[in-house]
């Protein structure tokens, strides 16, 4: 594992310009595929590969690719971030608080690679079998039998669903509908916060001005609008705002 760059089984592609070598990322079907090829380079049983070494190879590979200013698909970067996290977990002294543990995550990654590898080999063995119509043949000139519960009209399930696909594709006029989302408008928020703050003398958290039971997107909308509303009300001198530190709760009080 010492001779880093030679370890990579990378297809190298010569750019037309001739001076830049690029790594062909298209050669891999996603990060797991790349990890598996890297793992295979360790030339040991997949059950015994070193996940740490593998993680380092992957990260180095992505670094190389970045250095060569390649377009790297987002999922490769997501995997790189995840592996960097895993690596730090594996290197640092074990923190029993973290669940699942880095060791468990490493084991699962190993298992996933084994599973993919198993399927890849299974596929190759399947394709290498004696196949009907290529290696073995049925009778070339069958006389045919008396019909036994065979419908005279022939159509397969595939024909059926493909036909429906065609019908739908033909009928489908692309219509884009903007989904109506429940939002709290700025006007509503100003109205609401002004009304509520009028009766409050003590400092109150911004969140306490949200409608009770607001959830999900509506809550986010209400929070954003209420925040802007408090800024507007503060500008008008109707409320005072206070925050002890960055990201601390935003406190509001009426000035009246």
């Amino acid at each position: 594992m010492s001779d880093h760059d030679d370890n990579f089984d990378l297809p190298l592609v010569q750019e037309p310009s001739g001076d830049v070598l690029t790594l062909e990322l298209d050669g891999w079907e996603g990060p797991l595929d790349l990890l598996l090829s890297l793992a295979r380079v360790q030339k040991v049983d997949l059950r015994e590969i070193s996940i740490l070494a593998l993680v380092e190879q992957y990260l180095r590979f992505i670094e190389n690719a970045k250095a060569l200013k390649l377009e790297i698909a987002a999922d490769y970067l997501v995997m790189a971030a995840w592996l960097a996290y895993l690596k730090s977990g594996l290197l640092l002294p074990g923190d029993p608080e973290i669940d699942p543990s880095p060791e468990e995550l490493a084991m699962r990654l190993q298992l996933r690679l084994q599973r993919l590898n198993a399927m890849r080999e299974a596929g190759a063995r399947l394709m290498a079998r004696d196949r009907l119509g290529r290696d073995v043949f049925t009778r070339g000139l069958p006389e045919g039998l008396r019909l036994v519960r065979k419908a005279a009209w022939d159509a397969s399930l595939y024909d059926l669903i493909a036909a429906y696909g065609v019908v739908r594709a033909r009928a489908e006029v692309p219509v884009h509908v903007v989904q109506r989302r429940r939002v709290m408008t700025l006007e509503q928020a100003i109205d609401r916060v002004a009304r509520m703050v009028g009766s409050a003398i003590d400092w109150a958290m911004l969140e306490s001005f949200l409608p009770p039971g607001a959830e999900g997107e509506y809550r986010r909308s209400a929070l954003a609008s209420s925040f802007v509303a408090t800024l507007e009300l503060a500008r008008q001198g109707r409320v005072a705002l206070m925050q002890e530190s960055a990201f601390a709760p935003l406190m509001i009080r009426g000035t009246a």
């Binding site: 890849r120 596929g123 190759a124 394709m127 043949f137 049925t138 009778r139 070339g140 000139l141 006389e143 045919g144 039998l145 008396r146 019909l147 065979k150 419908a151 005279a152 009209w153 022939d154 159509a155 397969s156 399930l157 024909d159 059926l160 669903i161 493909a162 036909a163 429906y164 696909g165 065609v166 019908v167 739908r168 594709a169 033909r170 009928a171 489908e172």
Partner: protein
């Protein structure tokens, strides 16, 4: 085997070639297929091997082929009832009924965007795949159609709920315009590192 022990590889190859052939073959063609100079008496030996069996090897004017023994002809199809492919209109209509049942003819036409001929529904009715399922209580009281148990068994479905939904069709690439789907067949590069 009656003609002295196991057939040799030569005879086995000849047997397989005749079996797989799509038309009767001459002595010379067979020799080419199995890669020998001449067949000698191999065809006669193979013929003897099959004597009295359910199928026999016959020589028709210098061309050889296997055929069912004459006395067993009753199990063969007498009327060449070709199983016919359903027309495109037929399969589309059937698909629409399966996905939307019960539907009236006008509804099918509006989904297909094309009129359907009377014959199309007749073929589906005759095949036993659809049945009239009452009338829609709207002006004109049109007949509505639904699929039958025969339909389900023919297409290997346990229930209509097993039909892939729109999202599945889309995911499988079946909602793409035809030429686009073809381009994505992904059958191209022979891969070397599988």
């Amino acid at each position: 085997m009656s003609e002295g022990g196991e057939p040799d590889d030569f005879l086995r190859a000849l047997e397989a070639a005749l079996f797989a052939a799509e038309s009767p073959m001459t002595d010379a063609e067979l020799a080419t297929v199995i890669g020998v100079e001449r067949l000698g008496d191999a065809l006669l030996r193979l013929q003897a091997l099959y004597a009295g069996r359910g199928i026999e090897l016959v020589d028709r004017g210098g061309r050889w082929h296997f055929q069912t023994a004459g006395d067993l002809a009753h199990i063969l199809r007498r009327t060449r009832e070709e199983s016919r492919k359903l027309s495109r209109a037929g399969i589309e209509t059937l698909a629409i009924i399966a996905y939307h049942e019960p539907v009236s003819r006008a509804e099918i036409e509006s989904i297909r965007g094309v009129q359907i001929s009377k014959g199309t529904l007749d073929v589906l009715l005759e095949a036993g795949w659809i049945r009239p399922a009452g009338r829609r209580e709207v002006p004109g009281r049109p007949i509505i159609y639904a699929t039958t148990p025969t339909f389900l068994s023919h297409f290997g479905l346990d229930s209509r709920r097993d039909l892939p939904g729109i999202a599945d069709l889309k995911a499988a690439g079946l909602l793409d315009p035809v030429d686009l789907a073809f381009a994505q067949l992904e059958m191209e590069k022979p891969d070397d590192h599988a």
